[in-house]
Amino acid sequence: MSSEHIDEASGISTTGHEWDGIRELNNPLPRWWVITFYVTIAWAAAYTVAYPAWPMLSSATRGVLGYSSRNDVKNELAAAEAAKGKYVAAIQQKTVSEIAADDGLREFAVAAGGATFKVNCVQCHGSGAQGSKGFPNLNDDDWLWGGEAEQIQQTISHGIRYASDPETRQSEMPAFADVLQPEQIAQVSAYVASLSGPVRDKTLIEPGAKVFAENCAACHGENAKGGREVGAPDLTDAIWLYGSGESAIAAQVRAPRQGVMPAWGARLGETKVKELAVYVHSLGGGE
């Protein structure tokens, strides 16, 4: 410390510090300020006693007030659950069509179902439920097993070709590579492709129609509009699960791929399945 220095202009002593000729005045602190300063220190000390603060070897001091931010989260979650209670109760009571018809319930179910969808369904159906090759787009108006809310609920609940669920939706398209001659497969592929677009060789259409009537119409229907009882797709529309065009159709005729969807009823519970069904139904294609 240098000796006391008095500032000429103000008559106040300085702290003795000097930077390039600039000195710091040693103005008195107001007493209330000093008191406040000590009170904040005391407050900080008391705080570490009252609340969790001091780190120990494996945890930290708990604080005498017993506060825990984890409890806060728990309480908030419980409050959120309680707030959802009346909706969940109503969803449990009502059928999915009734839920879809009720504006408030539908809004809740769509939000809840959307959240469940993001966790459980996007892996196959995509984050926008837009699907991909082999996995149906849930936004469109083409439904293999039915697009009414109850039918969607059934599909989600019990899955498709899911062996461990006895009520699962079941069907199997045979592999026609062993049954039909290669030219017959080419003919029937041309015929099916012609139902929704132009084909290269029109002469194949007529014999193809005959092959279709003998081998395919049982499931896909005489007019090839498909059949929802067995999940047989409509072959006349613009939507193709395994690709459009003659070669994609021929490949599917020779060795059909069959999608499997797990049964979600046991895993998610009825309420969540209902919410999911309402969500999927709301995407724009619901019937």
């Binding site: 103005n27 602190l29 439920a129 108006d141 294609g285």
Partner: protein, 528 residues
């Protein structure tokens, strides 16, 4: 000097009031390291500025305490409180104006106007905000009224403070603090009424059923009002407030500030008569310390401009009173600009060559010489002032224009991005949109949503049964946002490019209000 003796009015020592007062922040006092607050006992002033301050106090406190109780009928679907900050529903009401959260720029505009207005006022009349309208000043003034009413004026209070703790002193002290607390509670209470329906909230508070936030807010504001207004007073301004520093930086040599005109006051003398008799020069200041006695900040204005001075102008009133008694011109302490002050000082000191010499600024008949600068409005109104005024009015006009022409019906559209489009079984392409209809008036109405453009397309609204069409009537709730999901479908043969534009239009057919949004319609590169 004998011949140039001033013809000063002879002072009658019996009339002259001598006051014992001392400034707490004075250049001559060496302060210790830690200092207890020195008590200030501001005396009652009377005069023009005191009158004006009473008026300002009545208006500002009146607005503050009564504001929430004003009513304004807005119909059955909106609150009828004239000034209401409805945080729960995110609506601000000010008489016939209702502000939605996205219109917060009106509030931002008001804040800009407040800022520029402050610059404008400060550039003209200095720290007028501090001296007249700052809540700290107004409430301290109010608390001083109470203190004076209960404990008496300055001398009585000093005596009481110095005296022993008698029963009377205890009673007076308790009464004073009790009244202060009542004011503090009323102040904290008035604040929360701006955030909820005042009569209902008052009932709830009395019944003990109001939200805990209400009680906490009242408690905190009661505490701050009592401590700042009753106990800390001038300490808040000198130590805690950044405003004096900022405002001081906005002054220039043409801003009016409360000034002790030492060019006519010096040399000050308590014994004018004797000094005159000995032929010494004497200024107008009789060193009566009235200015310090009425000062709520405890400053000696004769030390010149200082941070602690809030320019409340009460010293002007006090000094003018003394000058009037002495039969001298008022304005020894006055609102003056630094430029005028410097000019007059130069005159009085012969350009700084000597001490203040009263003979240099006075004629023989005691009137001032012509060279003395006096208050002149033209010096106050200068380019800087008009730039502030221009900016302030421009923002104000923009706000008023915005308010008069703003739409109370709005449309927001969010295009589904995942998936961007959906191919339907007949090959047509569908896009989804989340359409938000903002009905910003407090009446329910029916909004017609129409689509324009996009050949052959139609739309359907989720929750509304088919058939699809190009126009839907949608009922919307009063003062609410309604969200609907709209699906637009266009046949494949009408699609000629991957991205097309079309328009969503909403219209209230009864009021002819409308709004529109240009949306995009996506399709795959080759639709079939």
């Amino acid at each position: 000097m004998e011949t140039a003796r001033l013809e000063m009015p002879v002072l009658d020592q019996t009339q002259e009031e001598r006051l014992e007062a001392e400034a707490v922040t004075s250049a001559t006092v060496r302060p210790p390291l830690y200092a207890a607050r020195k008590k200030i006992f501001p005396g009652r002033a009377s005069g023009r500025f005191r009158q004006f301050k009473w008026l300002v106090m009545a208006i500002t406190l009146g607005i503050y305490y009564l504001g929430p109780w004003l009513r304004c009928d807005r119909g059955p679907y909106a609150p009828n409180q004239a000034v209401l900050l409805d945080l729960a529903n995110r609506r601000f009401y000010f008489f016939s104006i209702e502000i939605w959260p996205q219109e917060f720029y009106y509030v931002a505009g008001l804040l800009m106007m407040a800022g520029i207005g402050l610059f404008m006022v400060t550039s003209m009349v200095g720290r007028a905000w501090c001296g007249y309208t700052c809540p700290q000043t107004v409430w301290v003034d109010l608390f001083l009224v109470v203190e004076r009413a209960i404990e008496g004026d300055r001398n009585a209070r000093i005596k009481l403070d110095a005296g022993p703790w008698t029963l009377r002193k205890i009673l007076l002290c308790m009464t004073k603090h009790a009244v202060w607390l009542v004011i503090a509670v009323a102040t904290g209470g008035a604040w929360i009424f701006y955030f909820a329906d005042a009569p209902k909230l008052l009932g709830e508070i009395m019944a003990g059923t109001a939200a805990s936030a209400a009680y906490v807010t009242i408690a905190v504001l009661t505490g701050t009002t009592y401590v700042f207004g009753g106990l800390m007073r001038e300490q808040v301004c000198t130590y805690m407030c950044p405003w004096p520093r900022i405002q001081a930086a906005m002054l220039d040599e043409n801003s009016l500030t409360v000034t002790y005109n030492d060019w006519r006051g010096e040399p000050r003398s308590r014994h004018t008569k004797k000094a005159v008799a000995f032929g010494q020069p004497v200024g107008d200041c009789v060193d009566c310390k009235s200015c310090m006695a009425v000062c709520p900040m405890g400053v000696d204005i004769r030390d010149g401009q200082q941070l602690a001075c809030i320019t409340c102008a009460l010293c002007i009133d006090a000094c003018d009173g003394v000058m009037a008694k002495l039969g001298r011109a008022r304005g020894l302490i006055s609102y003056a600009t630094l430029a005028d002050y410097n000019a007059n000082m130069a005159l009085a000191t012969a350009n700084g060559t000597g001490a203040v010499n009263p003979t240099l600024i006075r004629n023989s008949n005691t009137s001032f010489v012509d060279g003395v600068a006096h208050f002149d409005l033209r010096k106050i109104l200068r380019l800087r002032t008009f730039i502030y005024l221009g900016a302030w009015s421009a923002i104000g006009l923009v706000l008023v224009y915005g308010l008069l022409t703003r739409e109370r019906l709005e449309l927001n559209v969010l295009h589904d991005r995942n998936p961007q489009f959906v191919t339907l079984s007949d090959g047509s392409i569908r896009n989804g949109y989340t359409v938000k209809l903002l009905n910003m008036i407090a009446e329910p109405r029916t909004i017609v949503l129409t689509m324009e453009g996009l050949a052959g397309a139609d739309m359907s609204v989720a929750g509304v049964d088919p058939p699809a069409g190009r126009s839907f009537a949608i009922p919307v709730e009063p003062d609410r946002l309604t969200t609907i999901k709209v699906f637009v479908r266009q046949p494949a043969d009408q699609i000629n490019k991957p991205m097309q534009s079309f328009t969503f239009r909403i219209a209230d057919e009864t009021s002819s209000e409308s709004a529109e949004y240009t949306a995009r319609f996506n399709a795959p590169e080759i639709a079939r």
